[in-house]
């Protein structure tokens, strides 16, 4: 078979997030945008999908990073402020990328969550 798609890596993470205080959808959007921004600094090519699910709805973000471009979309279906939810993230990159990507990703998520709580 001559398809080249086995030359790509997938990794994903699902993280329960509880904020100290209630946050609005703009904070969740900012968190998702920051994660996508950090990922774009790490990889020359990546397909990133994120969804933050909570009892009031969801915020979904996705992006394609290639050759220094980061084309992204974000969609919010949350009305009220929330204090917890589940963040699911999936990333497809090239297999040439080394390192423990899942651990790096968890660090990124925790850093950004901390920044939101401080602000």
């Amino acid at each position: 078979m001559d398809v080249g798609h086995h030359e790509f890596n997938f990794f994903g993470q699902s993280v329960e997030i509880a904020f100290k205080n209630k946050v609005d959808k703009f904070s969740i959007e900012r968190m998702i945008l920051e994660i996508m921004g950090k990922v774009s600094n790490i990889y020359d090519f990546a397909r990133v999908k994120l969804i933050f699910e909570c009892k009031n709805g969801y915020v979904k973000g996705d992006s394609v990073i290639i050759a220094g471009r980061n084309q992204f979309n974000i969609e919010s279906k949350i009305d009220n402020e929330i204090n917890s939810g589940k963040l699911i993230i999936s990333i497809i990159t090239r297999k040439t990328i080394n390192g423990n990507s899942s651990e790096n990703l968890l660090d990124i998520i925790n850093d950004i969550k901390g920044n939101i709580e401080k602000s």
Partner: protein, 197 residues
Amino acid sequence: MEIIQVAGFLGSGKTTTILAIARKLVDKGYRVSIIVNEIGDIVIDGKIMEMSGLKVKEVFGGCICCELAINLAQTIKILKDEYKPDIILIEPTGLASPSQIRELIKTLNKMNTKPIITLVDILLINEFLSDEQIREIITRQIRDADILAINKIDIVKNELLLKCEEMLKLLNPSAKLIKISALKNIGIDELITILGV
């Protein structure tokens, strides 16, 4: 039962396009199911589709054009037996080979494959084709298409669109070319008409 495959590289707008097509078909009175394939073991697009009230089955942890081909056949059978849809929309991974999926479907009983739609992301097609590894995958997806749908046309200038059309005609002269914006619901009716549904 009809099967419609909406292919295209990562980020080309497959989920949005499938949702737009599915809504129109449901409005026309069809029973519609969706099969979503994710290369990894986390499914996000399927969740979004289910939230839209559609019947969705997920095949994950590989690609239905090769290592998970048997799972695709089983999933089609389960949907057929349990839900009896008129139409199944298939979203392969962005790395899949559409013709291989069509060949698999052809081996199944009482399944009619509709023309393959390959979506082309007008915003990133030049970057993708400049990358040797990605170019190989995208070129195959374009050549496998019966319908080439240039997506995201609402946010580009006409000259870029014309260049893209010329390039696609060179890569696959026999495919029907259509311009859409799945997000803005532009061209979806025409796409359904071309599909012959």
